[in-house]
């Protein structure tokens, strides 16, 4: 509160900054995990400067894992799309990004392009934009930004990745240094503890499970898919493909006729991963009712 710094920003301004940080600068768990594994493996190599042999091998393993992730994504990506074509109706206009796009300045577009990668789920933690704090600070989040009902059979998946930051964060002014300094990178670090090979192995296991769920869904066995999704959520609560898992869960719920639950998870998904490239598919996965 030094006078030299000039007047403080008000709560609305802070809310805008919080939204910005949450959207653009949230370190996705899988990225965090990958980075951390790389660092740990570097330290394991025991050499201060060299040690590239082992690093290169591990990097190879990571790339292999990456390819698996990409494959998993493609599968997640394509399924709901097929479904979406079947479900297109007059409502689809509602999905149009018009309100989002109009009025965008070229500069903003440039920034967005610079920080593109809509997909890496930059919303592991939405550090300051839980609806409560956003509303408290004057940024309107809107009606559906309420906590979604907890799901019965399937453990909630997105919740684990978007820890609600709790009431203490409502006090916007206190946030600025403490919360930002603490940064959105700490919560999953315990989970990402192991390094190198174990992380790769666990990623393989994760992907395998997810791809089984996908196959089940593709073959029309939605309930089996849901079971596998639930198992995935249980075994890998902070997994590298939680976003894809959530997308799959929505599709499977709706396929199984549990539309309400599907919509709830979809809403949660949209809040947790507002820029996800899977976003449109997730929204279109469930037939819509009236709309707001």
């Amino acid at each position: 509160m030094t006078p030299d710094e000039g007047p403080r920003l008000d709560a609305h301004a802070r809310g805008m900054l919080d939204a910005f940080v949450a959207e653009r600068y949230t370190l996705a768990p899988k990225v965090e995990q990958r980075m951390k594994a790389r660092w740990a493996s570097h330290l394991d190599d025991g050499s201060a400067v060299g040690g590239h042999g082992a690093t290169a091998r591990r990097r190879g393993a990571w790339i292999a894992a990456g390819i698996l992730v990409a494959a998993a994504l493609v599968a997640v990506w394509t399924w709901p799309r097929q479904r979406a074509f079947e479900d297109v109706d007059a409502d689809s206009g509602h999905m149009a990004p018009s309100s989002r796009v109009e009025g965008k300045e070229p500069a903003e577009v440039a920034v967005r392009a610079a920080s593109a990668d809509a997909g890496s789920g930059r919303s592991k933690v939405r550090p300051q934009t839980d609806p409560a704090s956003a509303e408290a600070s004057g940024v309107v989040v809107g009606p559906s930004a309420q906590p979604a009902p907890t799901l019965g059979a399937t453990p909630s998946t997105t919740e684990t990745r978007s820890p609600r930051t709790g009431p203490q964060r409502r006090t916007a002014p206190a946030r600025s240094s403490a919360a930002a300094r603490r940064g959105p990178g700490t919560s999953s670090e315990a989970a990402a503890g192991e390094a190198g090979e174990p992380a790769v192995a666990s990623m393989r296991a994760e992907l395998e499970l997810l791809s089984r769920a996908q196959s089940a869904l593709r073959s029309g066995r939605a309930n089996e898919a849901l079971k596998l999704v639930a198992e995935h959520a249980r075994r890998f609560p902070h997994g590298a493909v939680s976003q894809e898992r959530a997308a799959l869960e929505v599709a499977a719920l709706c396929e199984a006729g549990r539309t309400e639950q599907g919509r709830a998870v979809a809403a949660k998904f949209a809040r947790a991963y507002p820029r996800s490239p899977l976003g449109a598919r997730v929204r279109e996965a469930c037939p819509k009712d009236g709309g707001p």
Binding site: P7, G119, V139, P292
Partner: protein, 184 residues
């Protein structure tokens, strides 16, 4: 120096745990893409490891790290043209930014406005504003990180804040109008 000493290792792990996300955000804000950011974070910590003995605690850890991140990013820019080594995961080629249904528009729009605002600032003010408002760093820390006088930090910060507050005021009024329309 062939082995990482046990004590050093612990320190390095701690610094990484506490600050990797900060460094990641810093290099992103310094203008690299996400795939590159991962590499640069690693490079920053390699420098940290080399220079650990030089860190005398006079500057805060974040100031010190930010200074290193700046240097590493600048080097990267100079040496660009290296093939992108890392696999670009995730984004399928036709991925469009996820369009927002109504209720998500407001947050996304606010974020877009902030992004546009930062673009409109000159780089010096922008950096100060970001470190103060997005990272919660204090004036003296920012001054140490950027190697400028504290007074300079404050004057840049004052001006940037003033401008941003005006933008936020406009945004709030627009929000209010939108709410009214929706209510009707």
């Amino acid at each position: 120096m062939n082995r990482v000493h046990r004590a050093d290792r612990r320190v390095l792990e701690e610094i990484y745990r506490d600050h990797a996300a900060f460094v990641w955000r810093a290099v992103l804000r310094l203008g690299v893409d996400e795939a590159t950011a991962e590499d640069l974070v690693h490079e920053v910590f390699l420098v940290v490891q080399r220079r650990l003995a030089d860190y005398d605690g006079r500057a805060s850890m974040t100031s010190w790290l930010y200074g290193i991140a700046r240097g590493v990013t600048a080097n990267h820019r100079r040496g660009r043209g290296r093939a992108a080594r890392r696999l670009q995961l995730v984004v399928p080629p036709d991925a469009e930014p996820a369009p927002g249904p109504d209720q998500h528009v407001a947050v996304g729009e606010a974020a877009d406005m902030v992004a546009g605002f930062l673009e409109s600032l000159d780089p010096g003010k922008r950096e100060v504003f970001e470190l103060a408002e997005l990272e919660g760093m204090r004036g003296p820390e920012i001054a140490a990180a950027l190697g400028v006088k504290v007074d300079t930090v404050y004057s840049r910060l004052r001006e940037a804040r003033l401008r941003f507050q005006r933008l936020a005021d406009r945004h709030r009024r627009a929000e209010a109008r939108r709410m009214q329309r929706r209510a009707r």
